[in-house]
Amino acid sequence: MAGVFLGLSVMLMSCERTKSVPVENVRVTPVTSADVQRAIHDSGGKAVLVNMWATWCGPCREEFPGLVRVARKYEGQGLKVLLVSADDSADIAVVKKFLSEEGVDFPAYIKAEKDQPFIDGLGKQWTGALPATFIYDSSGKLHDFWEGEATFNVFEQKVVEVLGKQAKPTGGNS
């Protein structure tokens, strides 16, 4: 019985992880905070999730599978996920390798600006702690922000809040 349970647990854990993609398919662009703001506004998403992370950040690595899973599940409903690495720009190959293992085949970014202007440019409420997540609505207005690790369920709930709001009828008498 215990063996069956263990087997199911392993299967569930493996389901949590997204299939890896070839590293040559991973695109990582150096960005300033202004570039990230531009990407948010130009994304065309109904909801935009920006996640600040780093390969050396344990909690970032732990939440990554849930993050990628949310990106996959809601991409067809208008969710855009912008992953921005805070790794040293010289470590771009390490970042690409990690993203390939996590199955990230959508555009990703790496910080290319000093801390203070980058942090202030993304949001005054961000202390600089990693991971940090920002969720914007389709107009680019910040809907939610938090620092620290989150689960798939939290990411999903926060994203659905934004997608759900915009799915509501906008008027009419019927």
């Binding site: 600040m52 780093a54 390969t55 050396w56 950040c57 344990g58 909690p59 970032c60 690495s85 805070a86 790794d87 040293d88 010289a90 470590d91 390490v94 910080k111 000093k114 801390d115 203070q116 980058f118 942090i119 202030d120 409420q125 961000w126 202390t127 600089g128 702690a129 990693l130 991971p131 940090a132 922000f145 938090w146 620092e147 620290g148 690790e149 989150a150 939290v154």
Partner: protein
């Protein structure tokens, strides 16, 4: 692998509003809490307070961000002490999560870096909580009246050869001279404090 300068927040999800902690002008909290130093003696923030001010720096051993800054932590800390500023470096991380942050490694690190000031264990992480500290290395400088005059980074780059602004050093010099600190608050990215579970 080179490491980024962002702070890793190892605790669970928190809203930022609670993460900023003390405001400029505030007095240091938890000054009477005794913490075990690498020399085996218990010491509090009040014990180390200097006549020209007090520098409280949250740090650890494992963090790549701390490693990038550790020589500058030693030099700025030792220089501050030489100017009459009391200095204490506090490790609030739970070594259960980061074994490199254990006491024996703290002793080694303090010796290697030549700390002339206490490097202590915040055994409950409550001192960090009281300060609202979230990252390492995170500096809090109090003036001779005990008021917070600087909070933030050591300087503006984890790469020593790219430093342009010596925030903490400038703040120490201004505080000792009785002048206004040029930049009172700075932000930086690094490793989040891994708080021990509240009992």
């Amino acid at each position: 692998m080179k490491r980024g300068s962002f702070v890793v927040l190892a605790a669970s999800m928190t809203m930022a509003a609670s993460a900023f902690g003390l405001n400029i002008g505030d007095k240091a909290p938890s000054t009477g809490v005794k913490m075990k130093g690498v020399d085996g003696h218990e010491v509090s923030i009040a014990d180390v307070a200097g006549k020209e001010g007090t520098l409280v720096l949250f740090s650890c051993n494992h963090c790549p961000f701390v490693k990038a800054w550790q020589d500058r932590i030693a030099s700025v800390g030792n220089a501050a002490k030489g100017k009459g500023v009391g200095v204490i470096v506090i490790n609030s991380n739970d070594p259960a999560d980061y074994p490199e942050d254990n006491f024996a490694e703290m002793q080694k690190r303090a010796q290697q870096l030549g700390f002339t000031f206490p490097y202590v264990v915040d055994a409950t992480s409550d001192v960090a909580r009281a300060f609202g500290a979230t990252r390492t290395p995170e500096a809090f400088l109090f003036d001779k009246d005990g008021k917070l005059v600087y909070h933030g980074a050591i300087d503006d780059s984890q790469k020593a050869d790219q430093v342009e602004k010596h925030f903490l050093q400038d703040a120490v010099e201004a505080a000792v001279a009785g002048k206004a600190v040029p930049v009172a608050e700075t932000k930086f990215v690094g490793c989040g404090i891994k708080f021990r579970t509240k009992t």
